[in-house]
Amino acid sequence: MKIHIKNGRLIDPKNHIDAQCDVFIAAGKVVAVGAMPENFTANRTIDAAGLVICPGLVDLSARLREPGYEYKATLESEMLAAVAGGVTSLVCPPDTDPPLDEPGLVEMLKHRARSLNQARVYPLGALTQKLEGERLTEMAELHDAGCIGFSHADMPLSDTLVLMRAMQYAATFGFTVWLRPQDAFLAKDGVAHDGEVASRLGLPAIPSCAESIALSAILSLARETGARIHICRLSSREGIALIRAAKMEGLPVTCDIAVHHAHLSEMDIGFFDSNCHLVPPLRSQRDRDALREGLVDGTIDAICSDHTPVDDDAKLLPFAEAEAGATGLELLLPLTLKWAKETGVSLPAAIARITSEPTRILALNNGHLGAGQPADVCIFDPERYWKVEPGSLKSQGRNTPFLGLELQGKVKYTLVEGHVVYEAPTEI
């Protein structure tokens, strides 16, 4: 299959390309960018006039809910949501049921995902057995089975000795440890940021220091053990300041935020909107502004969707009892574009946050469209508005704080390994 994508604006941040530029694909790979290679006869031509061609998006956190939570979502539904959102590679946290703590489970997941021929799935292995925070998993075996790193998802890991051992062991093999910093005691029972809104609504709260205390501990342990650390879904101003200092010091640390944290604050909870029950909690407007700044200046390396499909019943409960999380795969691109537009960040710089920067964190060589690369491509209309509604989402999780909002940026085609895996229905 040979594909010629023509007339589009190619944005390939890693290769510093932002130009009107054709892309030529053969045998699953990019064979040329710009001029048509000799003897190239396309089986299919995609006219990308008025559209942006960029590397397929790389999402650093998307829950696929398999194994164990198939009633919330299945691999089929969520992989379709991924490609409909232009996401061609995604990292899934290990908090499935059972957790991804055995090589067999990882192999099964990878196999299931591969058989769907859609986005590439990169599982994170559990850092401790059953995510109980006590005994280490067989990290080397898990790595051989396909784990790209090790994480404790959102489960508490309050024993710092176990955390240090886990980091030492991971560092032995050069594995990256993915952690979402949160002090288990300070966050206990909390469901919202400890601020004005939680006080007014009488919601059990999580103070910002729950994040900064845990993050300080993690950074000290990184210094001690030499482990490479990726900090997931930072939420607070204090957290950003700590990462900024750690990077200045030269610690091997990277970090991401969830895309909804770039737009929302505690105020959006309004009158107990359970779609705004998220982990970590939406914090103050000052925190949100600091996150947006951190994204602009590069303290925050990447933006993830933190895709967490939740079934409707689990949201139709009082705020604290409602399950945390929001669907996100299909919103990652438009919400990143929205942040860029609002802050004056260029389109290439914004796209880097969801393509080449995540692959740098993953130490993978994709996330760009240089010749010879696997042809994972996202083609989107940067101007097109669409309304976020349950019916407009492919994900089985229809809950998001952005329901009812008009967003700009619509994916038209998604290619994985040179195959068109998603094509938006033609609009009449």
Binding site: R200, L203, F272, D313, L316, L317, A320
Partner: protein, 322 residues
């Protein structure tokens, strides 16, 4: 969802979920209406036919005696049919969800739900869910709100002090866990009370409390100085079990209301308590039963205020057409 979920299109009360965001005119209208119901209790036949044929469900997911009883009396004095349900002991323990319980009861032709629930926001959830002809009254949700208590406290203060715009009011105790305090604060600030003080140890004061328009004190002596109204809050015994307070004895010594501390307030200051009281923990018996105490009046006024709330809600239709 950003609109005030308790008002209909005409800005009239469809539900009573929280005091927050309600205009002063709405609060005054409720208090004025309550005045007209006060004398019903004095009649030989303690009933008015306003809500005849209406079905009011008291839906209590948390135990309550006083609040449930006063709602029941209020509804009966308005001639409504009252059905009391202590759900905490039945459906919830069988695993039925909150909204399933509500749907089942709505199918029994309910006109109004009076709801108490342990989770903040439960009344909002129900109000969003029910059919437009059903009214919801929040009788306490988690730590969030207890609007009829807030209103009856305003009624009491107005009864004894007349002009609210010249008062200093102090609320003392466990504000962190108190839905009553939150409703009182919103009611006091909305009705123009110029100085609302809250007094308690830092472990029991919510973060950013001053954003609610109050002044925060940690010392009783300075906090009570020259106030016109003292509202004591109930301290749950379970607060002693965590790391919030060391002991009931120490709490009483520093934050309990004694005759000695009461003397710091204005000589004509009134003492209030939403009940149930813990004598010797937050309040000394001599003060609770003393001449400045209006605690039992609060209970009596509570019936008139709840009658007012129920009759006003029932008179307002979802679409706004009267």
């Amino acid at each position: 969802m950003r609109n005030n979920p308790q008002l209909n299109k005409n800005g009239e009360l469809q539900h009573l979920l929280t005091i927050e965001g309600l205009p002063a005119t709405t609060l005054r209208h409720i208090l004025d209406t309550a005045e007209t119901f006060l004398d019903v209790a004095e009649r030989e036949v303690k009933k008015v036919p306003l809500l005849q044929g209406k079905a009011i469900f008291n839906l209590f997911f948390e135990p309550s005696t006083r609040t449930r009883t006063t709602f029941e009396i209020a509804a009966k004095r308005l001639s409504a049919d009252v059905i009391n349900l202590n759900v905490g002991t039945s459906s919830q323990s069988k695993g039925e969800t909150l909204l399933d319980t509500v749907d089942n009861l709505a199918a029994m032709q309910a006109d109004m739900f009076v709801v108490r629930h342990g989770q903040s926001g439960a009344a909002h959830l129900i109000a969003r869910h029910v059919a437009p002809h059903i009214h919801v009254v929040n009788a306490g949700d988690g730590r969030h709100a207890h609007p009829t208590q807030g209103l009856l406290d305003m009624f009491t203060i107005r009864h004894y002090k007349k002009d609210l715009t010249r008062l200093r009011v102090a609320i003392v105790g466990d504000l962190l866990h108190s839905r009553v305090a939150r409703s009182q604060i919103h009611a006091l600030t909305t009705l123009g009370v110029p100085e609302v003080r809250i007094i308690g140890p830092k472990t029991l004061i919510p973060t950013c409390a001053e954003r609610m328009g109050v002044q925060v004190y940690h010392d009783m002596a300075t906090g009570l100085k020259d106030v016109d109204v003292i509202i004591m809050l109930r301290l749950q015994n379970e607060r002693m079990r965590g790391a919030l307070l060391p002991s009931a004895q120490e709490y009483f010594k520093y934050y309990g209301l004694t005759a000695e501390k009461l003397a710091l307030a204005r000589p004509d200051a009134i003492v209030m308590h939403p009940g149930p009281m813990n004598r010797g923990v937050e309040i000394e018996s001599s003060v609770a039963d003393g001449v400045q105490s209006v605690i039992l009046s609060q209970v009596t006024f509570g019936i008139a205020v709840r009658m007012a709330v129920m009759s006003i809600l029932m008179g307002n239709k979802a679409g706004g057409e009267a």
